[in-house]
């Protein structure tokens, strides 16, 4: 895990992701000063939630894809050949980094955006931001893991990001539109869970479902576990070039 953390510190992709997040955060301040904080945690959702979601997918893909992109897998596996352990170490780092960065930026937005909104009528409530932040942590983790799994499945950085985006924006959306299986698509299940946490209807998947059910949690987890298992199987069984 320490080697994985060191890679994050040494490589440019995580650094550029963080820079992009900070730029969006600063633009958010400007937006709040100009137009106010919006309803609920609207400003934080746009300036922090959406950018961290995109960064989470990229970071998830990068964590696995960097070894394929740099052709360093053989070096990594001759230092420690336990492939399952490597997957766990990378997943742990994803959870740690995505969770901390998302939560950290939402927490930072609380005083900063509150101050920036002082000239406007609306206000940013602590509860709304905390709920939105927690909801973002859950969805960002899920999408980062999807990206990670697809990088393992495709054994490629570019392939991973392409397939992850296709899955999130096309396959999952189409699946959620098919009557017989809509209840088993990941997007609506995840949406129900995050809406329940944030208390805000995203309107992304048709009618609002205000209450996450145990089935939503099971469906979302099943997708994540299934994708990671598929990627792990491919990764563990394949020969290293």
């Amino acid at each position: 895990m320490r080697a994985e953390l060191l890679k994050i510190r040494s490589m440019p992709t995580p650094m550029w992701c963080l820079i992009a997040l900070l730029i969006c955060f600063v633009l958010g301040i400007a937006g709040v000063i100009k137009w106010g904080p919006g309803d609920d945690a609207g400003a934080a959702d746009i300036a922090v939630g959406l950018p961290t979601l995109i960064a989470a997918v990229i970071f998830g893909v990068w964590m696995a894809g960097v070894e394929f992109g740099q052709n360093t897998l053989r070096q990594v596996l001759t230092a420690d050949p336990r492939r399952g352990r490597l997957i766990l170490a990378k997943l742990s780092v994803i959870v740690l980094v995505v969770g901390l960065v998302t939560a950290g930026l939402y927490l930072l937005s609380l005083p900063v955006y509150h101050l920036a909104a002082s000239g406007h009528e609306g206000s940013i409530t602590t509860e709304a931001v905390l709920r939105a932040g927690l909801s973002a942590v859950v969805s960002n983790l899920a999408f980062a893991i999807v990206g990670f799994a697809f990088a393992l499945i495709t054994a490629s950085m570019a392939g991973g990001i392409t397939m992850a985006l296709v899955f999130i924006f096309v396959i999952d959306t189409v699946t959620s539109l098919i009557p017989w299986i809509e209840n088993y698509a990941m997007g609506p299940a995840l949406s129900d869970i995050t809406e329940n946490i944030s208390g805000v209807d995203s309107g992304l998947f048709g009618e609002s479902v205000s209450k996450a059910t145990a089935q939503d949690v099971i469906v979302a987890l099943a997708w994540l576990v299934g994708l990671v298992a598929l990627g792990s199987l491919r990764f563990i069984r394949s020969e290293v070039k």
Binding site: R2, A3, L6, K7, R9, S10, M11, P12, V66, Q70, N71, T72, L73, R74, Q75, V76, L77, T78, A79, D80, P81, R82, E239, V240
Partner: protein, 313 residues
């Protein structure tokens, strides 16, 4: 008896329709620098990958530091084995030092335990330690790859074409580095297509072709065995005296053939080159050059890998 630190026994490997390895066996004794030679596609890298657990053999077995590859305890064994396979695997945007740190942490070692500064100094990269690896020349990347392979004082290092892409001075540096390794208790298995380099740095070699061993032993054994037929002397005389000299030498039962370069390759029951000189001088023929016809590894390699009827030893 010298311990065997790495061995493969009858391993076979097929990629689709291509039989990469076919019952390959080899052993690397402790304290040796062992060369693995073969033409492109002969199975050298496949054998090395199998030995390091990166690829699985279809049949046969492999052992590294006394542990079955992929078996119990293999993890510890691999982390005590340095390797450089098909060029250095580096994180291009990370510096030389960061690259070494990443590999050290993956083995659970701190900078000091891994000897990062010492190794960077050893390969002459201490002044470029904080430069991104992608800005390095191929030679510098190779040297960094070699330094990484030596992290944690490995008992054995496996190097696949370590002098690839290096200029002559770089080749000499790497060769000297490799030949010094056994002095610090490191056993080396090195594959290379630079035969003269292998001859200079290795004390034993295994030559493979089409996935099978065609020669194996100490360098001296290989050269002697394969060169036995052509041992003898090379004699240079004036061009207009070649026929006369050939006649004199064949008359006493020696075999004479014209060697490349206009020399006469003299073979047969003759122990001392001065006998040839005396014989020819007695007939008024001046010998301008006389030397032992010692086969080099290149000649042996060509004869073993290009002759379909070459005997398997």
């Amino acid at each position: 008896m010298t311990a065997i630190l790495a061995s493969v026994d009858g391993i076979s490997k097929r990629f689709g329709k291509t039989q990469a390895l076919s019952g390959l066996s080899l052993a690397v004794p402790e304290g040796s620098v062992c060369g693995l030679l073969g033409p492109n596609g002969s199975g050298k890298t496949t054998a090395i990958r199998i030995l390091l657990g990166l690829s699985r053999a279809d049949s046969g077995s492999a052992e590294l530091l006394g542990t079955t590859v992929g078996g119990r305890g293999f993890k510890d064994v691999v982390s005590r084995t340095g390797s450089l396979i098909e060029g250095p695997a580096l994180y291009g945007r990370a510096t030389a030092r960061q690259n070494m740190r990443i590999q050290a942490r993956a083995r659970g070692l701190s900078d000091d335990q891994a000897g990062i500064d010492r190794l960077l100094q050893l390969v002459g990269l201490n002044e470029r330690a904080n430069t991104n690896a992608r800005g390095f020349s191929l030679g510098m990347k190779q040297r960094l790859g070699l330094a990484i392979s030596l992290i944690g004082d490995p008992k054995m290092v496996i190097l696949d074409e370590p002098t690839n892409g290096l200029d002559p001075s770089g080749i000499v540096e790497i060769r000297e580095l490799i030949t010094r390794l056994p002095q610090s208790g490191v056993t080396v298995l090195v594959s290379s297509h630079l035969l003269s380099e292998v001859q200079l740095m290795c004390d034993r070699a295994t030559i493979i072709n089409h996935g099978s061993v065609v020669a194996d032993g100490t360098m001296e054994q290989i050269l002697r065995r394969a060169g036995a037929a052509e041992a003898g002397f090379l004699v240079r005389v004036a061009p207009d005296e070649v026929l006369k000299a050939t006649g004199i030498l064949t008359e006493i039962g020696l075999s004479v053939a014209e060697a490349p370069g206009g020399e006469l390759a003299v073979g047969g029951r003759i122990e001392d080159g001065s006998q040839i000189n005396t014989l020819l001088a007695g007939s008024g023929i001046y010998v301008s050059e006389l030397r032992k016809n010692q086969p080099d590894l290149e000649g042996v390699f060509m004869s073993l890998t290009h002759d379909p009827d070459a005997p398997v030893t």
